[in-house]
């Protein structure tokens, strides 16, 4: 397989790799990682839970150039992956790096796949100015919509051993239309609360509903932090009220915050706050760290953010906030 070698300083080389078999996947990823390590590059490998040990046993996984992340837990919310990649690039600023990920797999929900494609559209922006090679592995058993979304968001594709420019690639952070539609209405039975100054009340409301719906105390605390950040943003960044709506569906607790503000930065929520730049407005980053899935739609008419928490899941923190080397 032609190796997607490190590109120039201007834009990352970003390829979608389509595979049919486990062996094909493993070989391609190992080749890509090993090429990077041999060239002295830092490599971030974000693989699904089952694939991590398969890869680690074939690589010197204690190599200091390798960093590992688990896509099924830490990567459950795609924007969290975007911020991890940014963090990784900053930690190795100016040095060539590689990133290989499994953004999609057949058992992911439609909402997750949508967010994964949206995240792909942002990768080039997130890594702008970094000499980086990015390989994204897609199982050909995925639905046609996701495969198409991958083709639209990657300048290059690799398939059956051949690398080619992607004819349907839409440059410049264009999110494929079918991953950019409105989120749809809450179902009957959803409960809602409008808020503005009553910040304590909106947090309490979210906490009570989540606990009743079976979310653990710890994860309810996480949800309350996320709701608090978003509700606080309504007060800080808009002059109108917001609405919190909550319901349960498909074994998940869904918490929707809607207000009249607009988020204009496509990379909003992907930059970790730090002591040198504590600046307000980092709440969105925290939200993405704490929730299993975050879906955002924003425009001149306002912003809608849906938080999903699955009671059966454990918290992903600190997963992607501190990348670990093994």
């Amino acid at each position: 397989m032609a190796d997607a070698a490190s590109g120039g300083a201007e834009s990352p080389r970003h390829a979608a790799f389509f595979y049919r078999t486990q062996a094909e996947f493993t070989k391609a990823v190992l080749d890509f990682v090993q090429a990077g390590v041999s060239a002295g590059e830092y490599v971030l490998v974000a693989a699904t839970g089952p694939n991590l040990p398969r890869l680690q046993e074939r690589l010197d996984h204690r190599n200091e150039f390798l960093t590992w992340a688990d896509m099924t837990s830490s990567g459950s919310n795609p924007r969290r992956v975007t911020s991890a990649v940014r963090l990784f690039a900053e930690e190795h600023r100016g040095q060539p790096m590689r990133f290989v990920q499994e953004p999609a797999w057949p058992s992911r929900s439609a909402g997750e796949l949508c967010e994964a494609i949206r995240h792909e559209a942002l990768v080039n922006l997130a890594l702008a100015g970094t000499p980086a090679a990015v390989l994204c592995a897609y199982d050909l058993r995925l639905d046609a919509g996701t495969i198409m979304g991958a083709q639209r968001t990657h300048p290059m594709t690799i398939r059956d051993g051949r690398q080619a420019a992607s004819v349907s690639y839409a440059a410049d952070v264009v999110i494929p239309a079918d991953c950019d539609g409105p989120l749809g209405s809450p179902p009957p039975g959803a409960v809602a609360l409008t808020y503005r100054d009553n910040q304590h009340e909106v947090r309490r409301f979210a906490a009570d509903y989540a606990r009743l719906a079976g979310l653990s105390p710890d994860r309810t605390g996480d949800l309350v932090i996320a709701v608090g950040e978003l509700a606080g943003n309504t007060l800080t960044h808009t002059s109108g009220p917001g609405t919190l709506t909550m319901w349960v569906a498909d074994g998940e607790i869904i918490c929707q915050i809607q207000d009249t503000g607009q988020i204009t930065d496509p990379l909003a929520g992907t930059r970790r706050p730090d002591a040198d730049d504590p600046g307000r407005g980092r709440g969105l980053w925290v939200v993405h760290q704490l929730c299993d899935l975050v879906e955002m739609r924003t425009g001149p008419a306002g912003t809608m953010i849906r938080l999903r928490m699955c009671p059966a899941r454990r918290s992903a923190v600190p997963g992607m906030t501190r990348l670990r080397r093994r």
């Binding site: 910040q199 304590h200 996480d222 608090g228 606080g232 706050p273 730090d274 600046g279 925290v286």
Partner: protein, 147 residues
């Protein structure tokens, strides 16, 4: 916003919505105790209170043991005061922050940048006798105690 002023120490304590603020001098420090929830609504009062506490103290212990909620805005307030105090040769340390209620400190990694102690007593013990700047306008009895 209701104001419920109670004099609990050197500065008037204030209660706004779900926030309680008080302060006292000890061991050459001003200990600012915060209780309740730090959010966008209560954060402004918190910021002003810290500003006031800092105006004639260069060594501050922020006692967060009774804080039940803290958002990134309030964290930014703390970091802002910490940076200003440190730049002026002073000290600001955090004591008693409970992970469950102030998790944002850890998620953001700031818990490793800011000086954190489990208790006010530990904060005092760790920072005593360093020879700080005497409080402006303070009485002799409130001057810096040496270790």
């Amino acid at each position: 916003m209701r104001g419920n002023i109670a004099v609990l120490g050197r500065y008037p304590g204030v209660q706004v919505d779900d926030l309680r603020l008080s302060s006292k001098s000890q061991g050459g420090f001003v200990i600012v105790a915060v209780g309740g929830e730090l959010d966008v609504v209560t954060g402004r009062q918190f910021d002003e209170y810290l500003e006031q506490a800092r105006s004639d103290h260069k060594r501050v212990i922020l006692d967060l043991s009774a804080v039940d909620f803290m958002d990134t805005g309030s964290l930014a307030v703390i970091v802002g005061h910490w940076k200003q105090l440190t730049a002026a040769g002073g000290t600001l340390v955090l004591a008693g922050a409970r992970y469950r209620y102030t998790k944002t400190l850890w998620i953001t990694g700031l818990a490793e940048r800011l000086p954190l102690y489990d208790t006010v007593e530990e904060a005092l013990a760790a920072n005593s006798g360093a020879g700080g700047i005497p409080e402006a306008g303070g009485s002799a009895a409130e001057g810096i105690k040496s270790a």
